[in-house]
């Protein structure tokens, strides 16, 4: 995932110093061997020619080099793992705080409405409104629990079982409109264009999760009235879905990190603070599981965000092999 992208200036300095020490030892070792050899060759021959055969053999020399190199490599490995661990720990703490917030907010809302209904004379009309709000909160909790479970199953490298063949344009359009409805996005603010005109193999529920996350992000990170443009395109082997919004965009230095697990952008002028840092990670994993690819683009702050999803086109011939694969994976 995100192994090479952390800022590890401090650790790096220590690491480089340690490697320099190893290098010095290694050079010393070579120097020692070579100079000893020269002495043996020069002095040994004069004193007693038969000693030449007992001169330092190549074996300990090579052994030493291998040993030193091995140690140096293990140092690299330790350094790398340490860095990943440090980074993960920080992210994880953040994640726990975020999840706590994400769990408690809808929960407190539900509790508040239940207590209100229990202790006050609420008009029928208000009651209906409150039930609706509670259901939305319950939905939010469900989504959160699902994405956490999704992560857990991804970690176990489980695969999706519900792959089916769908008409690409029609199905994706339908899924996006469903997501829009769920996140209270006006259907007219979503514009579709283009036509891929092909079939794709997908697990509908998880692709729904993909667009749930994208639509939710668009609503969360927009200031002006939301506009989403979705376009479909077809290449030789892949279809391309472009999902662009007019939101606050993503700063250049963050764009590579947004798909990392637990990663969240903290900036003053971001209009929303909710989230776990799981959404886009899940999105990427799902797309990957569909043998596809997702990339993000943004011209910078306030210039909107564009996601490009490539999914393999489903061809009739491939059917048998795909299904075989599926069976194997099961």
């Amino acid at each position: 995932m995100n192994r090479r992208r952390h800022s590890f200036a401090y650790n790096l300095v220590i690491f480089v110093l340690a490697q320099l020490v190893w290098l010095a030892v290694l050079l010393l070792w070579i120097y020692w061997y070579v100079s000893n050899n020269i002495i043996f060759e020069q002095v040994g021959e004069k004193v007693a020619p038969q000693i030449v055969y007992d001169a330092p053999s190549v074996f300990p020399f090579v052994g030493g080099i291998v040993l030193l190199t091995g140690l140096s490599i293990s140092l690299v490995l330790i350094f790398r793992h340490l860095n990943i661990q440090i980074k993960l720990n920080a992210l994880y703490d953040n994640f726990i705080a975020n999840v706590t917030h994400e769990l408690k907010s809808p929960l407190s809302s539900i509790q508040l409405y239940l207590e209100t209904l229990n202790s006050r004379d609420v008009t029928e009309e208000k009651k209906k409104e409150f039930y609706g709000l509670m259901m939305r909160d319950a939905e939010r909790l469900k989504n959160l629990v699902n994405s956490i479970l999704e992560i857990a199953s991804m970690d176990k490298k489980k695969n999706y079982k519900d792959f089916e063949v769908y008409k690409a344009d029609e199905t994706i359009k339908k899924i996006i409109l469903e997501s829009a409805e769920q996140f209270l996005v006006n259907k007219d603010s979503i514009k579709f264009s283009g036509d891929a005109g092909c079939d794709i193999l997908l697990d509908r529920n998880s692709i729904k999760t993909v667009f749930d996350n994208l639509v939710d992000n668009s609503t969360k990170y927009s200031i002006s009235p939301l506009e989403i443009k979705v376009s479909f395109k077809r290449n030789t082997k892949k279809m391309e879905i472009e999902f662009a919004d007019n939101g606050i965009g993503i700063p250049h230095d963050e764009i590579k990190k947004i798909f990392q697990k637990f990663h969240r952008i903290y900036e003053k002028d971001i209009p929303n603070v909710k989230g776990t840092g799981l959404g886009l990670f899940v999105v990427k994993e799902i797309v990957k599981n569909h043998k596809g690819k997702i990339t993000a683009f943004s011209e910078g702050k306030r210039k909107g965000t564009k996601f490009k999803i490539e999914l393999p086109i489903y061809l009739e011939k491939k059917k048998s092999t795909k299904e075989n694969k599926k069976d194997i994976e099961k």
Binding site: A97, T100, H101, K104, S105, P106, L107, S108, S109, Q111, L112, Y113, E115, T116, S119, R120, K126, F130, L133, R136, D137, K268, D269, I270, P271, N272, V273, K274
Partner: protein, 236 residues
């Protein structure tokens, strides 16, 4: 709108969770308060600056400015404004930070509606009591100390410092009851309005801080004296 016309208590509710804000607004309105909802830090500061509120219910995790920053801003402009912090964060540091920045009370999510309403009522009651006693004697002098209970500014000799609202209230309460023993329970009931989360030790901490402010030798207090197994007493 005509603020002066009604004497309805006005509450500024700062909460970015729409559903929760809506439910709270409904309940507070039902209780007879006039509620204005700010959905992020920017709005909160804007509304606060343009309107006179009696109490602020403040979430911590907010867009643009967080609750701590807002509390600080409010305290600078309006030291007596009661602030109830409402948050999902449970870490003790957050609570301490909130109280230090001048939140008067702290409630963690999820909370009970009744408790929230009771706390708000208590805070308003305390505010009224405080305002009443402060109008009678806004400035109090003892030793080389001068305490201004209106803006919480104090001087000790040449040293100037600022009290937090709790410190001022405890001080006021002790002074109002000077030469009488004030028990910890009494302080809890009247200053904190019986906050079950606050232990008596908290009061002792406040007393330590007050002594540092006002006593010449805080380990040998002259004004704020301890009365063994009873409480505290203000004497001159």
């Amino acid at each position: 709108m005509s603020e002066e016309k009604d004497n309805q208590t006005k509450i500024l509710l700062v909460e970015d969770e729409e559903n929760l804000a809506h439910g709270l607004e409904y309940n507070l309105s039902e209780e007879g308060y006039k509620v204005r909802v700010a959905k992020d830090g920017r709005e909160a500061l804007k509304f606060f600056d343009e309107n006179g509120f009696d109490l602020i219910v403040l979430d911590i995790m907010l867009p643009y400015y967080n609750g701590f920053e807002i509390a600080k801003h409010i305290r600078e402009k309006h030291p007596q404004m009661p602030i109830l912090m409402l948050t999902a964060r449970t870490q003790i540091e957050d609570r301490v930070k909130g109280l230090e920045l001048g939140a008067d009370d702290y409630l963690t999510k999820p909370f009970h509606l009744k408790e929230l309403l009771l706390r708000i009522k208590g805070m308003l009651k305390r505010k009224n009591w405080y305002q009443k006693v402060v109008i009678e004697h806004p400035i109090y002098k003892f030793g080389n100390n001068v305490v201004n209970f209106e803006n919480f500014k104090c001087t000790k000799g040449k040293k100037k410092f600022q009290l937090t609202s709790y410190e001022a209230m405890i001080m006021k309460y002790l002074i109002e009851n000077r030469n009488k023993v004030v028990t910890r329970k009494e302080l809890l009931e009247n200053v904190w309005n019986m906050n079950p989360e606050i232990e008596t030790r908290t009061i002792d901490n406040f007393i330590v801080r007050l002594r540092k402010h006002f006593e010449d030798d805080s380990s040998n207090p002259k004004y704020i004296v301890s009365v063994r197994s009873a409480g505290y007493m203000f004497t001159e």
